[in-house]
Amino acid sequence: MLEYALLAGLVFGLYFSLVGLGLNLVFGVMRIVNLAHGDFLMLGAFGAFWLFNLYHLNPIATVFIALAVFGALGVPLYYLLVPRLQRARDPEMLSIILFFGLSQVIEALATVGFGPSERSIPGRVLGSGPVHVLGQTFPAAWMVSAAASALAVLGVYFYLYRTRLGYLTRAVMVHREEALATGIDVHRVSAIAFGAGLALAAIAGVFAPFMLGSATPAMGVDLNIQSFAVIVIGSLGNPLGTVLGGILYGVSLMFMQTYFSSWANLLPYLLLILILLVRPSGLLGRQVRRA
């Protein structure tokens, strides 16, 4: 029981790191809250579902398609929305409302296009039979999803710490104005980070039918809250802290589901509030409290 909760928590934790990663990257670089994050995730899930059903395409292949499509979509979307938003008086607050509007548009289009019903992909597509780890058995699809999540996190690490673009991205994260003053093309760096954020959301979405059971056009809202919980526990604005947050969240979720299952839904909200109140600025490197 205990070992199972712990291991399943790790598996889900890795997946939840991926779920939160894109949101945190966007927040870290642009200081805007992408409230449509969960909806891009939903689009990734539906992409995987349709490509599998129409062309029998393996979801692993869909990951690369999602990366290309949503990465390419993110750049024009950035130029369309963000520079204009940043000229307003309070961009951080208005971004919540702007991206809420975007999430409504996406959700409405998805409902019109896909219908409101639940969609799922059989788990055997990602690998057959249960996998035994340390005496516990898990579906193979979980292990594949967790491994893919870990790879995606490593990819983001490589991008941020081993490439020149990542170096510039971190400069913008630390101080936008100074980065601008040293001649960094802040808009270009931000646009690429925005595209990467959307692509990460869509990749997480590809695995959503396996990890979360099914996909519906309205799934975005819940996922947003979970993503927020994950990235706030880790460290807002620091994408790699997300891994810590994801694993902590995954493990505590599994423990709640094992021992207090009827109250498990309460967990993300309580964790979110507690962490914000107890350690609001400690890990964040940024003032989030007034007076």
Binding site: L98, Q104, I225, L266, Y269, I273, L277, R290, A291
Partner: protein
């Protein structure tokens, strides 16, 4: 003419009279009631977001607390509806007090934490383990106290009081202090404003407004489920209506409700997904092109709007 009187005559009196008299000639009282509810909620959001600068993304928490405070007082304590409204208001105030530490957070952090708090309250209220106390997910039925005429009248009174509150904030030293906190809390403190006290009062006032109208809502509809009164739509609609018209004014939220909720009732009920689409596009256009709301257009033309 003093500005308070002018604002009262221009906005509070006509809106209240219209709400009070329209049921005599128009039979869809439920529609009018919903307008009254949203007029009140939009002004409640105006108090805490428009004047003070905190975006209450989980505003519905207070509405739901009010509705459940009212209903549980009627069910368990067999209170008269008017007294039970006091319990509903009290429930919202208590929730507001519990959440005051959130006011230490700023910007998006506050909005997210507030949203999480509202969802947490919803999860507790609708938890099947608490069915004996809150009726859990099975909902509330108050057919014993159902009284549409009286509850409608009370709703109009709550709305009028809330509009009066907005007029007061628009024209008083306290309202100015709140706006100073919104612009720059540190400078406001330097200017001698007790920031913590002022923002707490604004927060509790806005909670009180939502709690009262939530209680009246429960009374008026008398049969509802937890996800009816904790629906995120209430927060979002109230925020968007207020923003659309223009916050930190009296007339802005009123205009926003009349226009947007009017559109909602024209197309939203028959084809919700198309309304959601138009609504989303409208919100995006609003934030990008008119972030200060409709009334900012009038201000640009040099007209002093209430």
């Amino acid at each position: 003419m003093p500005r308070v009187l002018r604002h009262t005559l221009l906005v509070v009196v006509p809106v209240t009279l219209a709400a009070a008299l329209l049921p005599l000639g128009y039979s869809n009282q439920l529609l009018l009631f919903n307008f009254v509810v949203f007029l009140t909620l939009a002004q409640g959001v105006n108090v805490i977001y428009g004047f003070t600068g905190y975006l209450p993304f989980g505003y519905v928490g207070f509405f739901g607390a009010g509705a459940y405070g009212f209903s549980l007082a009627v069910i368990h304590l067999h209170m008269a509806p008017l007294a039970a409204l006091g319990v509903g208001a009290l429930a919202a105030i208590v929730l507001g007090l519990l959440l005051t530490p959130l006011l230490r957070l700023s910007g998006a952090y506050f909005a997210i934490a507030n949203l999480a708090a509202a969802l947490a309250v919803y999860q507790v209220v609708s938890n099947p383990n608490l069915t004996e106390i809150t009726m859990g997910p099975y909902g509330i039925s108050l057919s014993g106290v159902y009284h549409p005429q009286l509850s409608y009248a009370i709703a109009v009174a709550v709305m009028a009081a809330t509009l009066g509150l907005a007029v007061y904030l628009r024209n008083s030293r306290f309202g100015l202090a709140l706006q100073a906190i919104r612009e720059d809390a540190v400078s406001a403190a330097m200017a001698g404003i007790d920031v913590v006290r002022a923002r707490t009062v604004a927060w509790l006032l806005s909670a009180l407004v939502a709690g009262l109208i939530g209680g009246v809502f429960a009374w008026y509809v008398s049969v509802f489920y937890p996800d009816t009164v904790f629906s995120a739509d209430f927060s979002i609609f109230a925020i968007v209506f207020a923003l659309f018209g223009g916050v930190a004014t009296v007339s802005g939220p009123v205009l926003g409700v009349l226009i947007l909720y009017g559109i909602y009732n024209a197309i939203g009920i028959t084809t919700p997904q198309y309304f959601q689409l138009i609504y989303g596009l409208l919100i995006m256009g609003l934030v990008l092109f008119l972030p200060n709301g409709l009334v900012s257009l009038f201000k640009r033309w040099g007209i002093d709007v209430p």
